[in-house]
Amino acid sequence: MEKEEFIRLCQDSKSDYSLSDSILKTVKGYRFKHQKKKLPVIWLETNDSGDNNIAFMSTTYPYLGQVFSEMIDLLYSNTFMAAQGSDALDILEEAVTKYKGEFVLVVEGAIPRKDHGLYNIVIIKETESLTALEAVKWLGQSAKYVVAIGTCASFGGPSAARPNITGCVGVRDVLDREVINVSGCPVNPDWFVGTLAHLLMYGRPDLDSLGRPNLFYHYTVHTHCQRRSYFDNKDFAEKVGDKECMFSQGCMGPRTPSDCPYRLWINHVNWPVKANTPCIGCTHEDFPDGSSPFFTPLPAKNPGKGEKNE
């Protein structure tokens, strides 16, 4: 309202509640007009460990509360939603219809395909069950964006580690459309929240050849590692716990796309190499098998066996 109107209101107020009444009405109207659009999000968990939603809970600036109030409308999430049972199922079904073509489908976990996908049932209804395989296909066809959070959803990850008896695959192998792969085991919450922010403010982010946002995954860990001078001087750690280059201890940095050395973890305090241990390449397409054994130097890693090859 105009300043003069407001002052007049204050001066004219009688000893009843008419002032606050009219002010509240106006404030509400103003907020409604300027209401920021938030991203409608449906979050589906499949064959996962839940580590990504746990990492997400530790996001700082924005904190979780700010993500919920400013950035996303989390319409469905097995971990977070207050509703339960058939109420939750109703909410899901209505959200898919109401936000068709608008919502972001976040998938956390790999999709088991063997035995008709029975290794993961997302919801049991009165007469039938909804497998993760069916749920991803159903939701994926109506989503505006599909975001795979974590390496399991992106590429199969530990859920698909050999021998993979459940036939787990990443979401990209189940959906015939582009999937944004925010990989990591777990993700650094910044990568996920940052991707959501990009979708909200600027739309689809620039992706690398494996569908990962370049904003976070363009450079390898090795490129910006603080121990690079040790590597370049061939000054390698003799054991885990040393301050020198972790390449000798199995570090996957040279072939791992991620900004961990810059970004650090949990309010930016530390990361595996700073903690005197090797990077195990958790954002990579072939994690964990391609990084195994974790403490064997990269050239000698042998994903098919457990023996160290020195």
Partner: protein, 462 residues
Amino acid sequence: MSRRKIVFSPVTRLSGHLSIEIVVDGGHVKEANVSSTMFRGYEKIMENRHITDAVYLTQRICGICSLAHGATASYLLDTLYDNRLSKNAQYLRNIMYGADILQNHLRHFYLFCLPDYVKMPDSPPFHRQNLADARLNPEDNQRLAEHYFEGVKASQKCHQILALFGGKAPHQHSFLHGGVAVGPNADNISQALALLQEVHKFIRMFLLPDIQLLAKVYRDYFQIGITPGHFFSAGLFKFGAKNEQNLWPAGILVNGQLETPNWELVEQDITNAWFQDKDTPDPYKKRAYTWVKAVQYAGQPLEGGPLARMIISGQYQGGSSTMDRICARGLETLLIAELMDKWLHKLKPGKPPLQQKKELVREKATSVTDAMRGVLLHRAVVEKEQIVNYKIITPTMWNFSPKDRYSQLGPAEKALTGTKIPKPELLFTILGRIVRSFDPCMSCATHVLDIEGKVLAEEEIF
């Protein structure tokens, strides 16, 4: 009320996938089948890998109790290699473990439990909460609803303490066999103390008063969701150069008798689990309803978790109800924060307390310790440092055991069965409160597959 069959699915606000098939008859729960519906086959995944991969790999069984697996695998490796842990390593490991337990307990109460008793704001993800039986007055309700987000922040600080020493969370890097790869110094100790101080303040000023308020206003839940109270614990917080002591003792408490556990007496029953035999998953098995194999101790279902620990260590006096579980978890949260403060002051600045021997002294070991929700067991058979088989039994397998071949109920099903449902619209609310008091972690409960291949005659029944 006539007999009805209802499916409670999904059970939200927990870790993993859980559904419950219920039969209600005459206003009471006649039957409850707790159904875990996710399977990965983690024991199979562990085979044919280098044994030192166990710490990082088993952590990925679960994100909310990650370090519990890392710790148990580290202790197991310590036994296989005959490592000796320095005092610094002992304190630092327990500080890190404590931090992950605190993170879990804070998230359990505020993110998972609270919306069962407190009306949350009607915006996502709390929209259409449909909370039947909300009893708090508007002022108390508002205060607790605001504490939800403060609780999130406090739990983030716990992860930050863990990351200061562990590199990241979840799935930390430096708690390994032989000790910890990060050395304590004035910098990380003082940061950890500062974070802990804020967490401790939050526990005293928010968590405990909030739990006390719920315990008062919902005091009938001391009579709801009751189990027989057959508790057990593997002990928590290992000390000693060979991890041989537990600060909080191990024990089995059945019918008032306290005994020392003998882990050889653990058995599994696949009657109602989706397994054809010990080794082969069978998602089509007709009478089965869950991926969890029933786990028992000498034929006895047992209950683990903070309540079990607090009762066995004599730090909590109470029953075995829904509200007892919540109160005991709150008490444990305070106790752990205070222990961590003590331990941080005991650290001596210095090099990373890590000494990893390189030669195996044995080819088989079992490691048992309490995790957030109860007893966690890892057992490995190795050959030249390669895993031949790796068995994992998690706390939630015990608490969420399905009926065995004698139709004996596990703790969660026992707690649910017989519950009075005064009105149909209260069903999900009441059962949700009971189930969540156990802090179920279904990611942990359902990865298992039995030992395959070479099994010696004297091997355990499972």
